[in-house]
């Protein structure tokens, strides 16, 4: 048996376990997710799509009149361990030109928990900031 590289115990296959290979099943993530806070100042809605096994993410930011459509970007799905076959988390990156936003999210008890890490690349002097937001289907 070939020894696999690892940097923590969790990276190793369990005894008798096999690497699943192939793409993670995206069904647990796919759909439209709404912010649980109806007065959210951050992201109000997330649309997650399965495009031939690839995850596509579309976010909508809060605004007074109607939400900002951030457009679609590709996401990276993650499972619960090295033998996972279903996705239960994802990450994605938006580059708006003046701002780079990293989305990192995971499912817990039917909710989607979304962390955003926001880095301004303009000269506005705004601090880079973090948010934690919750979504339901």
């Amino acid at each position: 048996m070939t020894s696999l590289e690892y940097v923590r115990a969790e990276d190793q296959l369990p005894a008798g376990g096999e690497a699943p290979g192939g793409a993670l099943r995206l069904a647990p993530l796919v759909g439209t997710w709404y912010a649980t806070d109806q007065e959210a100042l951050g992201i109000v809605r997330l649309e997650l799509h399965d495009s031939d096994g690839a995850l596509l993410v579309r976010a909508f930011g809060a605004d007074v009149t109607e939400p900002y459509d951030w457009g679609e970007v590709s996401g990276t799905p993650y499972g619960h361990g090295v033998t996972a076959v279903e996705a239960m988390a994802f990450s994605a990156i938006y580059d708006f030109g003046f701002l780079i936003t990293i989305l990192s999210a995971y499912l817990i008890q039917g909710m989607l928990v979304l962390d955003t890490f926001n880095t301004f690349t303009d000269s506005s002097g705004r601090s880079n900031y973090f948010t934690r937001e919750f979504f339901h289907r």
Binding site: G42, V82, S91, I102, F120, G125, Y129, F130
Partner: protein, 134 residues
């Protein structure tokens, strides 16, 4: 320019925010679960205002040193200056790891998003861990 309401600075703040204060992040953080199979401990230093992260993964007979990576610090809002979160990425050759971390109630919450780039067939995976300052 904005992408959501949160991007708007409070009145009078624009352009006046000083450098981010990294002190809430700095130091050694140890996993609350001493039997963790994930990250054993994290050391965070300050290099000219940038967080420098050093991760040690759970391993036997000793934790595995991932080496140092440059991180990015984040506050609680566009007008704030105290760091409450950071990200760092590791390219370990056979795997890439995004660390997405924040402070909550004096604990450091670390979400590790790992993607294998080798041909092992292992699934990309997410693992959360909580850390305390000893």
């Amino acid at each position: 320019m904005v992408t959501r309401t949160r991007d708007r600075p409070p009145a009078g703040v624009l352009g006046s925010v000083p450098a981010v204060d990294l002190r809430p992040l700095l130091g050694g953080w140890v996993n609350c679960n001493q039997h963790t199979t994930g990250i054993h401990r994290i050391e965070i230093g300050d290099w000219e205002g940038m967080p420098i992260v050093r991760v040690f993964g759970a391993g036997r007979p000793a934790p595995i040193d991932w080496g140092e990576a440059a991180g990015s610090a984040f506050t609680d809002g566009v007008g704030r200056r105290e760091a409450v979160a950071f990200t760092a990425t590791y390219d370990l050759g056979f795997m890439q790891v995004l660390l997405a971390c924040y402070i909550k109630l004096r604990l450091l919450v670390v979400n590790a998003y790992s993607t294998f780039t080798d041909s092992s067939g292992r699934a990309s995976y997410w693992q959360p861990d909580n850390f305390y300052r000893p």
